[in-house]
């Protein structure tokens, strides 16, 4: 085989690999991205219907109620709150008054069914998404007062 042909073959092969990988990436990104929505945005009806997304905020004090393995609680950004149900075992750091991020779907009745509740390593750590939700809500309240 001539060197030129060889180079063409190698370059074609390389481009094909990258092309296939790009197709895989785009396809996978499309179906595996979870948007992050704050409780206020849910109250405003901005939640994506029938799609998996994440909510974050503070677990409302006194809201945790257990029914065997199903746990009911509310996530609040200090302005609005969303009732959440989760069946299964919660991470050790899940506590009332602490930040939490949950992933799942919204039901027609406005409750959120979580398939995953995120765990953290450090009790003093606030998930950035939860912090973001609280910051947004407080910013909005300030604007109203002014």
């Amino acid at each position: 085989m001539k060197p030129r042909h060889k180079r063409i073959a190698l370059i074609t092969g390389g481009l094909a690999t990258v092309g296939i990988a790009a197709a895989l990436v785009l396809n996978a990104l499309n179906s595996n991205i979870a948007f992050f929505v704050t409780p206020t945005e849910i109250a405003e009806g901005k939640a994506p219907q029938g799609q998996i997304f994440r909510i974050g905020g503070i677990v409302k004090e006194g809201s945790i109620r257990r029914d065997n393995l199903t746990v009911h609680f509310a996530i609040t950004d200090t302005a609005k709150e969303v009732p959440v149900t989760y069946t299964g075992i919660l991470p050790d750091l899940f506590q009332e008054g602490k930040g939490a991020v949950a992933q799942g779907r919204i039901n027609p009745d406005g409750t959120f069914t979580a398939t995953e509740v995120l765990a953290k390593h450090d009790e003093n750590y606030m998930p950035p998404e939860a912090q973001h939700a609280v910051d947004q809500a407080q910013k909005a309240q300030k604007t109203i007062k002014q």
């Binding site: 060889k6 990258v18 996978a28 075992i89 919660l90 992933q103 765990a119 390593h121 450090d122």
Partner: protein
């Protein structure tokens, strides 16, 4: 006084590293032997000084000196001594000091074990390492000084995060950092070669053992981290595609590519530019990893309370490293001579494909990890990319690699004979089909995914056996050849573990009253109850479970739920019965009626077939790497070249 001594030693080390980074590089450039000669002593001095600094911090932890802010934040008098010492790297400041200590340790090792290399080359390598050390030390001294004092020291420290009070923490961070920082050595060799304009087979041969050893540490560090997450976090998973895991995995992928590309550069003199780029990429990715971990820009299970100023500093350091290296590369690369030619079907091509696949896989992981940041930066809102993305992209890219692993070592350099190779390997193809059809049925249910994975394992292992028989006929192989075989076999073992556990694992979350039983994977757990017990610095609810199979009692398992005295955070300690072909795993979640004596608990039980093969495979890979790095030829040839040099010197005299 001791903490100030540590701080002072670190400041001194900073200036010594500055000397180490400047004089030898300038000296090598201007051919000044006296400046070149500074490299080794400066490296040794810097190593000693950082060692003193590290010892001072360790001492502060040992004597519970809570006037040091970092000690007060991460230790406690109740903490067992072992954890008080490992708490040195339990937080941000200390782990960075460990980073720096490892870096000067690598530099000292290069200085000590490279007597046979030309002095100018060693001077350049140590010089580049010195500059990297300066950057990281500035980071520690300016933003994260572990020796900062408190005006009014507390009587008691805040203690170490309970998750980190585990033997895994003693080994995992140091091993991982050794790997991370080892990328700096591969990078320094590449930079030194570029600076000298001497990108050749000799450079590749010098760089290879160091790169391989760094890769071994990275492999062990990642594997240990995965094992730690498996048993300590109580989630039962072994890989989560978490940003911090990805941060260590990306340099690993690129370093794996680098090891293979270095082989081509050493043996055939090809791929030189590419090898240099990989070395730059591997080190840049390990800096990027540090940035991701330390800046807290990504939501991660590893995320700790962070400081944005620190993230910015590492980002600047990263930009300087990448920018300077690429500039140098752009200036020198056009002068690099092309390497040996090769045909389309040749070992070079197989290794090229290996490299393309590994780099593309790394790119896909990088994209998935950074995508939330990119989208957020362009105002697209906050999103997260889940594990299904990574599985969907990573696995298809890796499958061809598993096919090629068997072909590459059989192929000849320069020009390989494909029909002859296939003739040699046809029994492996038969073994592959047989393994794909039969083995999944033995495991219970036939799944296409497992069948494919086990067929590939059959292909890889049978090819390994055929090659070994062939090679043994031709005479006794070298250590590095055995290293390659063992590492490739480790890959096959790991694929078995991954395929089996992800398909056949069983998980059940159940409510259990004392006396009740639950079954997974043919094993039965009987819950006998929970008793309170007292540990050195925690109180634990210790559960007792009877594990039995086919009605035969096997053993008792004792998972714990701990409440540490200094923390509000409960800790789950899983109980695992580990075995060659399966683990069974039980953990206590929480009491469902805390007020009732002997009340029900939420319990999680797992059946994990072949999960230990994942870590076993990693160990085999690491062992293979060690054997390859220990090959005699790295020393013998060096000696003979030293002899040549001595002869030449003698002749000149």
């Amino acid at each position: 006084m001791i903490p100030e001594l540590g701080h002072f030693a670190l400041i001194l080390a900073f200036f010594v590293s500055l000397v180490q980074g400047v004089l030898p590089l300038v000296g090598a450039h201007k051919n000044r032997a006296d400046w070149v000669a500074v490299a080794r002593p400066a490296t040794a001095a810097s190593f000693l000084l950082v060692g003193v600094s590290f010892a001072c911090l360790t001492w502060a932890f040992y004597v519970n000196d809570f006037s040091v802010e970092y000690v007060a934040g991460h230790s406690n008098t109740q903490l067992p001594t072992m954890y008080r010492l490992s708490a040195v790297w339990g937080g941000h400041e200390g782990s960075l000091l460990l980073w720096v200590f490892m870096l000067v340790g690598w530099a000292a090792a290069v200085a000590a074990f490279s007597r046979q290399l030309p002095a100018a080359m060693v001077a350049r390598v140590l010089g580049v390492l010195g500059l990297v050390t300066v950057g990281l030390m500035a980071f520690v001294l300016l933003t994260s000084n572990p020796f900062d004092r408190l005006m009014s020291p507390p009587a008691e420290g805040r203690s170490l995060n309970p998750l980190l009070q585990d033997p895994g923490l003693i080994y995992h961070p140091p091993l991982l950092y050794m790997g991370y920082v080892g990328m700096a050595v591969a990078y320094a060799f590449a930079m030194a070669a570029l600076l000298a304009g001497q990108l050749d087979a000799a450079w590749a041969r010098w760089s290879r053992p160091w790169t391989t050893v760094a890769w071994v540490f990275l492999t062990l560090g990642i594997a240990l981290g995965s094992w730690w997450a498996y048993y300590e976090l109580g989630w039962g998973g072994w890989w989560f595609w978490d940003p911090v895991e990805n941060a260590s995995f990306m340099p690993w992928l690129v370093c794996t590519a680098l090891i293979h590309s270095l082989a081509v550069t050493e043996k055939r003199g090809s791929f030189k530019n590419w090898t240099v780029l990989l070395a730059i990429a591997a080190f840049s990715l390990s800096l990027l990893g540090t940035f991701l971990v330390r800046s807290g820009v990504l939501t991660s299970v590893h995320a700790f309370a962070t400081d944005p100023k620190r993230g910015l500093f590492i980002l600047i350091l990263l930009a300087v490293v990448v920018g300077a290296s690429l500039l140098l590369f752009a200036a020198r690369a056009p002068k690099v001579s092309p390497g040996g030619r090769f045909e389309l079907i040749s070992r070079e091509t197989f290794l090229l494909v290996n490299n393309v696949l590994l780099v593309v896989a790394c790119g896909a992981v990088l994209l998935g990890t950074l995508y939330p940041l990119i989208v957020d930066a362009f105002g697209g809102g906050k999103i997260s990319v889940g594990p299904p993305y990574f599985n969907a992209v990573f696995i298809p890219i890796m499958l061809p690699l598993l096919v090629l692993v068997a072909l590459g070592p059989v192929a000849r350099w320069k020009q390989a004979d494909l029909p002859a190779m296939l003739k040699k390997l046809w029994p492996a193809a038969v073994a592959a089909v047989a393994a794909g059809i039969v083995l999944p049925m033995l495991a219970g249910e036939w799944h296409a995914y497992v069948a494919l994975a086990l067929a590939l394992v059959g292909w890889m292992s049978a090819a390994l056996v055929l090659q070994t028989i062939d090679r043994l006929k031709a005479g006794s192989p070298t250590a590095s050849w055995w290293g390659m075989q063992i590492a490739h076999f480790g890959l096959a073992v790991m694929v078995v573990g991954i395929a089996m556990v992800s398909t056949y694992q069983e998980e059940r979350d159940v409510r259990m009253e004392p006396g009740e039983t639950v079954s997974v994977g043919g094993y039965t757990f009987k819950f006998l109850g929970v008793k309170e017990s007292r540990g050195p610095n925690y109180t634990a609810d210790v559960g007792t479970f009877e594990l039995s199979q086919d009605g035969k009692l096997m053993r008792l398992l004792h998972p714990e739920k701990r409440a540490y005295d200094t923390s509000q955070m409960p800790m789950t300690e899983a109980a695992i019965d580990a075995g060659f072909t399966r683990d069974v795993y039980v953990s206590l979640a929480e009491p469902l009626s805390p007020d009732v004596e002997n009340g029900p608990w939420a319990v999680r039980v797992y059946f994990k077939p072949f999960v230990d093969w994942i870590w076993g495979g990693s160990l085999l890979m690491a062992l293979g790497g060690l054997l390859a790095a220990a090959d005699r030829r790295y020393r013998i040839r060096a000696k003979s070249s030293a002899a040549v040099a001595a002869n030449a010197a003698g002749a000149a005299a």
